[in-house]
């Protein structure tokens, strides 16, 4: 007895009508014995499965109701007050949420972007811009790398053998400031010539409110002392509506750029200029005079040792005394030139202006600052994108591969 009169198929593969027929039969729209046989088969297959346990169904229903209740509580409760969820009864440990992963990814990208962006900053810019000194960065740009070399390139190292010998001679002569016999850097972007002896100078004009002039003046004095210099002269004039303080500072040439940057942070900078004077010839001449006088002294001493008559001896001693004076003068002159090279003179003017505080709030400055912020933001975004896009591509590739691998492993269970 054939009890299962199945409808036939094409044998090799389904045609559209076969699929349509079974679809219609199973959704109840198909009629006829063939449709009935499909439905009968479906019902037989479904009946083979043991029914779901009522206890399990009830328990699962309660659990779903619990999820719903918890979800409703979570939605209605203020953020952060959601009770901790109990440990899952089925499945695997909950993975970190996508927002958390996204947050971590973005944080990593930003950190990477900052790390990558850091070396982009110009190497010579050690001057930090300050909200109160908008021109500080611009000044650092104008000064160029030469000013920063002043602190990083000691005299001998930067100026070559000639400079070294000069430094040594200056030290030997007892003159002050042997450390700055030559100055490799040049102000105002002037090209530094190795082996040249240069005298640096600068002037800077700061603005402050009249009542702040004295405070700024005090800070200028303290800053000068802390940088190893001294105030050569100062004058402070305070008034109700105006005020002014002028300083003449003497600073180590090597610290000029630092000090100017620090001065620029004390108050907004209205004007600033730097100067450089080459005093190599003067220095060489002074050095030569010392060398000549020293050579003459040695010649006189040799002649004295060979003198035989009283007259010769007295004459030589007199010339030695004159020579001693010449050597002292020559060394003093060399010391003066060396001091000029090793110290920089800075004229500081603090101008009291009742509008000083609003000076920085001009439209131009606002636009400039906004432009800078936008530029930096764009650079950071660009770098972040440069980091994130490859990461995203790798993540997508990994996710695709993982999905394919999981699917492969699942299908492998089915065999074939």
């Amino acid at each position: 007895m054939r009890v299962i009169p199945f409808p036939g198929g094409s044998g090799t593969g389904p045609d559209e009508s076969w699929l349509t027929e079974i679809e219609a039969a199973l959704d109840g729209t198909g009629e006829g014995p063939r449709a009935d046989s499909w439905r009968e088969l479906r019902d037989d297959v479904r009946t083979l499965a043991p029914p779901i346990s009522p206890e399990f169904e009830r328990e699962l229903g309660e659990r779903i109701a619990e999820w719903s209740a918890r979800s409703a509580t979570k939605r209605s409760a203020p953020k952060g007050s959601t009770p901790r969820q109990p440990r899952r009864r089925w499945g695997w440990p909950r993975r970190p949420g996508r927002p958390a992963l996204a947050g971590v990814s973005v944080a990593c990208a930003v950190i990477a972007a900052v790390l990558i962006a850091a070396p982009w900053r110009p190497a010579g810019h050690t001057v930090e811009s300050s909200p109160r000194s908008p021109s500080a960065a611009a000044r650092a740009d104008r000064l160029g790398p030469a000013f920063d070399q002043a602190e990083n390139a000691p005299v001998a190292g930067a100026s070559g053998a000639k400079a070294s010998s000069k430094g040594a001679e200056v030290a030997a002569s007892g003159a002050a400031g042997s450390s700055a016999a030559t100055n490799a850097p040049a102000a105002s972007g002037a090209t530094s010539a190795p082996g040249r002896v240069q005298q640096l100078g600068a002037s800077i004009t700061l603005t402050a409110t009249p009542e702040e002039v004295q405070t700024v003046a005090d800070r200028v004095s303290r800053l000068t002392t802390s940088e190893g210099g001294f105030v050569r002269s100062s004058h402070v004039d305070e008034g109700e509506k105006t005020g002014e303080a002028t300083f003449t500072l003497s600073l180590p040439s090597a610290k000029l750029s630092d000090t100017l940057a620090s001065l620029g942070q004390l108050a907004p900078v209205r004007a600033e200029s730097q100067s450089l004077q080459d005093i190599t010839n003067t220095y060489d001449a002074a050095r030569q005079r010392v060398a000549d006088a020293t050579a003459e002294r040695q010649a006189l001493l040799r002649a004295l040792s060979k003198a035989t008559t009283e007259g010769q001896i007295d004459s030589l001693r007199e010339r030695l005394a004159q020579n001693g004076g010449a050597i002292a003068r020559a060394r003093a002159a060399l010391g003066t030139v060396s001091r000029q090279a090793s110290t920089a003179e800075v004229e500081v003017t603090v101008v009291g202006d009742k509008n000083a505080n609003s000076e920085g709030l001009t439209l131009h400055r606002g636009l400039h600052d906004a432009g800078r912020v936008l530029t930096v933001t764009l650079v950071v975004l660009l770098i972040a994108a440069a980091v994130l896009v490859p990461l995203a591509l790798v993540a997508i590739a990994l996710a695709t591969a993982r999905r394919a691998w999981r699917r492969h492993r699942r299908e492998r269970v089915l065999g074939g």
Partner: protein
């Protein structure tokens, strides 16, 4: 951008009431183990609940999603246990309350179907179970199997043809006996 649909609490509850027994039936028929089938059923509903806010309408109705999840969970369970399911389908069957000669004939037919189904390779049996327990359309079946619709149709056709052949064989053997 795939169109998203949100499965609200009420719809989810309705899906549970209408689909829990079917998911369980699919799982127990595939795994041959009541405890494992209950785990798979619970896991499928839990995963669907968690994903209810981001269902992709392109992947069919929530019921199709539910069975796709249940299938993955069942295959994971099979893989995790690293053993094949019981070669025999569960013995317990329902006669639907019929009595007499019809009931006997029905029982005999179902026994034949059960034996034929058990004789099918697991890959083909799974397609039949998914189609009949899930009551999925052909396109939904393709989505659940993660294959193209034509591929799903081919697999369904092959499985049902093989099932028919097995049933005929068993019938012939019974008649000879």
């Amino acid at each position: 951008m795939p169109e998203r649909m949100k499965l609200d609490e009420e719809a989810f509850d309705r899906l549970f009431r209408e689909g829990a027994a079917d998911v369980h039936g699919y799982a127990i028929s595939l795994l041959g183990d009541r405890a494992a089938a209950e785990d798979v059923t619970a896991l499928a509903f839990e995963r669907l609940y968690r994903a209810r806010a981001r269902l992709d309408r392109g992947r069919g109705a929530p019921r199709a999603w539910l069975f796709a999840i249940a299938r993955n969970a069942a295959l994971d369970e099979l893989r995790r246990r690293s053993r094949q399911p019981q070669s025999e389908l569960p013995e317990e069957m329902h006669d639907g309350g019929n009595t007499g000669e019809d009931a006997f004939e029905q029982l005999a037919r179902r026994a034949t179907v059960r034996d034929a189904l058990a004789a099918l390779p697991l890959r083909e049996r799974e397609v039949v179970l998914l189609k009949f327990h899930g009551q999925l359309s052909n396109s939904e079946l393709a989505k659940a199997l993660d294959v193209s619709e034509s591929n799903a149709g081919t697999r369904l056709h092959r499985a049902l043809t093989r099932l028919r052949e097995k049933c005929n064989e068993l019938d012939d053997r019974e008649e000879v006996a």
